[in-house]
Amino acid sequence: MTTVVERSLPRWGGFSLGMIGLELRRMVRNRRTVVFTVVMPPVFYLLFGSSASYRSERLDGGGNVAGYVLVSMAVYGAMLATTSGGAMVSVERAAGWSRQLRLTPLLPGAYIAVKLVLAMIVGAVSVLVALVVGAFTGAELPAAAWVECGLLAWVCALVFAAFGLFMGYLLPSENVLQILGPVLAVLSFAGGLFVPVDQLGSTFARIAAFTPVYGVGQIARYPLTHEGNLWLAALSVVVWTAVFSVGAMWRFRRDTARV
């Protein structure tokens, strides 16, 4: 070469705001993802949670039943958003993009970090949209609960970012969301997001308590209901996050070892 190129490695293993920005733009371009993660939860709330009777029925701790349903839907949205954020890796692997990225300085850890940040950004948008729609259509919560429930729904959704990554590495399919959609719906039922679990029978309720969405729902609704055992719920969230993270790491190692 006649020109001398200065060669150095990027900071943070290639984790950068520039990459997050471009990835976010690409995610938003995908209409199906946007509808799935940002439009569907508020629509569900409007359909099932905002009836006149739900708006007039008060809760003991303040707020109305519509507000209670809204928080559940915010959790549901955060869960859809973070799962699909993580599951993006499936499409990228199928397209050979992950392999292409290995021809750049981007470190695998930085790639995972970018995916997690993206998942959490989309999760935050999903929660915000649901809460704003709810606020304008009759959902009522005590002032502090708006913030607390929203934040908790969002933070706890980290479980599902890990879940999405795990599934993204596990499932080879390009249509990973078509598989995950029904799976998430079942988990949401078990987690009491659509109907309170005890209405589904005591055996079901007992099993449901061990499923991954249950704890997240309990925690997110706690500022509103002050019900249930917060410590057990937190334990459930931590354990499931660990399980999914270990699963994702395991598949990820195999993925990079292959080729």
Binding site: R7, A95, T104
Partner: protein, 301 residues
């Protein structure tokens, strides 16, 4: 001090289970060389290239790129590649794909413009990758490969699936680029491509280097043709045929004889006038046969 080699493979073996894809390749490539890795399907070209790029580890032997481990050379942008297929996301635009590459390599925005121009895709920068033709996608891969301004560019069958004019345009861009002194290694099935664009041709077959020489030597190798004829008692003629000028090799298979030669007309004349040969045909030697001629030469020599 010896010159620093662009690529040094030393006794490299790559096994996939029971398959030995690369079987003891040693190769040194000097900076500035344009080298064709020529070989039939399954010869081990991609497997070799993958190891040079640090995408896989050799089962045995060592690979150095500009004196460094391949992963490190890749991360520093010393080496980059246009791969055989895949590696693009449909829902990025052409421009965004290159920008992302620039972000990852920590190169400025101007560099994006420069490589889009160089690869001839500046006018389609806002097009989604999924809407680009195969040739345009290949140019995009080329632009991404140019981005870190690598010392070594690797192309793995870069023109597969392109039409004739696409092929021509692509190679013009590569040739233009190689003028700046970049080292280029490209894998191909096509003798013509190797002949037209490489200074040096490395033949690979079944994971081994069977020949390594200049493009002119390759041309000579491929210039021969094969005469095939039915000839009862062919064995008796074998020695006479072998003794003819310009005959590379003679194979007898039962009642048929195959003569590989530079001057096949002379051989045909001899067979038809001086022997009982019939059903005679003359075929151009394809790559596979050139390899066979080459390996059998090595055995007889």
């Amino acid at each position: 001090m010896t010159e620093r080699m662009a690529v040094e493979l030393d006794g490299v073996v790559k096994r996939f289970g029971a398959v030995t894809a690369v079987d003891g390749v040693s190769l040194a490539i000097r900076p500035g060389e344009v080298v064709a890795l020529l070989g039939p399907n399954g010869a081990g070209k991609t497997s070799t290239v993958d190891m040079v790029l640090g995408l896989s580890e050799p089962s045995q032997g060592s690979v150095r790129v500009y004196g460094r481990a391949p992963r490190e050379a890749v991360a520093l942008g010393l080496v980059s590649a246009v791969m055989q297929s895949g590696g693009l996301l449909k829902d990025y635009t052409v421009g965004e794909t290159v920008r992302l590459t620039a972000v990852l390599f920590g190169r400025p925005r101007e560099r994006v413009e420069a490589v889009l121009e160089r690869a001839g895709i500046a006018d389609i920068r806002d097009r989604l990758v999924g809407k680009c033709s195969g040739g345009q996608q290949q140019r995009l891969r080329f632009a991404m490969a140019l981005l870190p301004d690598p010392e070594l560019l690797i192309l793995d069958e870069p023109t597969t699936g392109m039409d004739v004019s696409g092929r021509h345009d692509f190679w013009s861009a590569i040739r233009e680029d190689a003028r700046s002194g970049r080292t280029v290694i490209f894998a191909t099935h096509y003798l013509e491509e190797a002949d037209a664009y490489a200074d040096r041709v490395v033949f690979v077959r079944r994971g081994r280097v069977v020949a390594d020489g200049t493009a002119a030597e390759v041309k000579a190798l491929a210039s021969g043709r094969t005469v095939r004829a039915t000839l009862p008692g062919a064995v008796e003629q074998e020695a006479a045929l072998r003794a003819m000028a310009g005959v590379d090799s003679v194979e007898v298979r039962g009642d048929s004889v195959l003569v590989h030669a530079k001057d096949t007309d002379e051989v045909a004349r001899y067979l038809l006038t001086r022997t009982a040969a019939r059903d005679l045909e003359i075929v151009a030697r394809n790559l596979e046969q050139a390899f066979i001629a080459l390996t059998s030469d090595e055995v007889t020599a």
